[in-house]
Subunit: 334 residues, 2 copies
């Protein structure tokens, strides 16, 4: 297995909002039978950012990652924000995260946002590996922080009961280890571009002309159409991804999928039926945390040692757009 | 001059909205004396996207760039969206642009957004050069498309009369020429993070809880504080940028600055006083087109042959965050 671009994950941290909302509570609210949401959507509880902003969660997660790496914000050379939701339209997410660190006010490292919606972390990790390979950086922070609750429509039980909030951060560092990126691919299948959308709030339906209503300002998903599309595109994507490699999906030590939905994760388990034990599934207690799903699952796997030094790890996700992103890397903390 | 990462600009195109709004018209609307806006802000007229969406303008600009490069959308390996404004919150801008090309519906090249607000094009160009250097791409499209009018407050004459709309696209290609990136730097100065902001529309003041009012949902700028900050940071930035190089700012053939404001461009002319003729200034007829300002000015310079084969070109901008971005490259179309 050839390492294309070396990196280590020197630090990993996450933050989960204090408020936990059980599916029973949502079932009462929506007059659904007890157990309906877990059975249908696969979620028992999720964290909800009732008190926390995106920036606050991001700061906590990054602080935890810095502690884990045993470095300080002063050692960071670049901060990449990799999320779909945001506190403000302007400035970008990453600048607000840096601004939340008082000790960073006189540091001048750059802040940049990357957005491929739910696969933003995968795109950001490839980008970070490219930046490291340019030789100008030592430590790059990637932070995903998502707060979905404002953008959910209580009249749409499928999405209302699926999403959760949270943040995760990693420190990607230059290394002498034989670890890092083996393969990255991102593909956008435009036929499905508008199967997942928030219609209001941009220039198309600006708040100026379009007052708030939950249907207009919430995440809308044509679940069946989307799943049909993914059923065709995902196997093709995976075959193209692994074809040039000497490893197959079955050989990968740990698969960290986007926690998109019960059916989404099941589809992946189907594709990897010889080795379903190595797929991280946190949907039950986290819900779909948009772009934070993959890094939260990755950070958890590092924390609980499911992902070990020298292991191969495959990040895989689908995203609004519709994009499928995959990144295979060899893990090292050193 | 060492080329760090080779690229050519195989194609360049722009789109300017049909509607032109003169400053006289705004002066009547706001009861300002005739000539006040040009004298104070430096803008005589600007294009306004009354009929055009961000995605529509982006498609026109990209079509023009593809024609100029004599290639088709089928030859594109990656599309980078580099804008601050957007039609929809989800999906990302670049996926919507690809979706607007009917002939691209069955193509699977990836779409990714980069956001450093007004310097997004600079960040995207560095990113594209990194992607090209990885060897997996031949042609990368970068598209900036901005529509500011929904986000302007008529009660704030300084910003209301400053901004304009438009789009520009370039095709960045692998090349055998000795052209491409000489130096790139982006630095974020967090002290000024909130001097430029749109307060409403994100999670901090969500439309759900905060009905539309122009002060809340429009771009707000603490111009004096910002300018004071830039006066300190810009000279330092430029000195650090050129220090390791064998060329100085005065040697550069063409400087394409972000058309931030009259004072912003003047400050730059002051810094480059030995050679002010080589600074592109389109503020008068375009206004500040956010992230599209730099590529519109770049594309114009290529079209009118102010930028010629083999010339060095320095892109420089300030952005909300507050970020200063600079990219020096040697131009080739081949």
């Amino acid at each position: 297995m050839k390492i294309q671009r070396a990196f280590s994950i020197k630090g990993a941290g996450k933050y989960l909002p204090k408020t936990v909302i059980t599916s029973s509570k949502i079932e009462s609210e929506l007059n659904l039978p007890e157990g309906y949401i877990f059975k249908r959507i696969g979620v028992k509880s999720r964290h909800s950012a009732k008190e926390e902003s995106n920036t606050f969660m991001a700061k906590q997660a990054l602080n935890n990652a810095l502690k884990d790496a045993n470095i300080s914000i002063k050692d960071i050379d670049c901060l990449i924000g990799a999320s779909a939701t945001f506190d403000y339209i302007i400035p970008n997410r990453s600048s607000l995260i840096k601004n939340a660190f008082e000790e960073a006010l006189d540091l001048d490292f750059p802040c940049i946002d990357i957005n491929t919606v739910c696969t933003s972390f995968i795109s950001a990790l490839d980008y970070a590996s490219l930046l490291l390979s340019s030789g100008d950086y030592q430590h790059i922070a990637i932070v995903s922080s998502e707060s979905s609750s404002n953008g959910l429509n209580p009249n749409d039980s499928e999405t209302y009961s699926l999403f959760g909030d949270g943040a995760a951060a990693v420190i990607i560092s230059r290394t002498n280890q034989k670890s890092g990126l083996i393969q990255y691919k991102s593909k956008t299948y435009s036929e499905a571009a508008k199967y997942t959308i928030i219609e209001g709030g941009g220039n198309m339906n600006h708040t100026k002309n379009t007052p708030y209503d939950p249907a207009m300002y919430s995440f809308k998903m044509q679940g069946k159409k989307l799943l049909k599309n993914v059923k065709t595109t995902l196997p093709k994507f995976l075959s193209q991804f692994f074809k040039p490699l000497t490893v197959s999906l079955q050989d990968v030590n740990l698969i960290v999928p986007h926690q998109a939905s019960k059916l989404g994760i099941r589809m992946l388990i189907g594709l990897n039926k010889n080795n379903s034990a190595n797929i991280v599934d946190q949907l039950e207690n986290h819900g779909n945390c948009i772009a934070a799903s993959i890094p939260i699952a990755l950070v958890s796997s590092i924390e609980n040692k499911t992902l070990k030094e020298g292991d191969t790890c495959f990040l895989l996700g689908t995203a609004a757009g519709m994009t499928i992103g995959g990144l295979l890397f060899k893990y090292s903390k050193l």
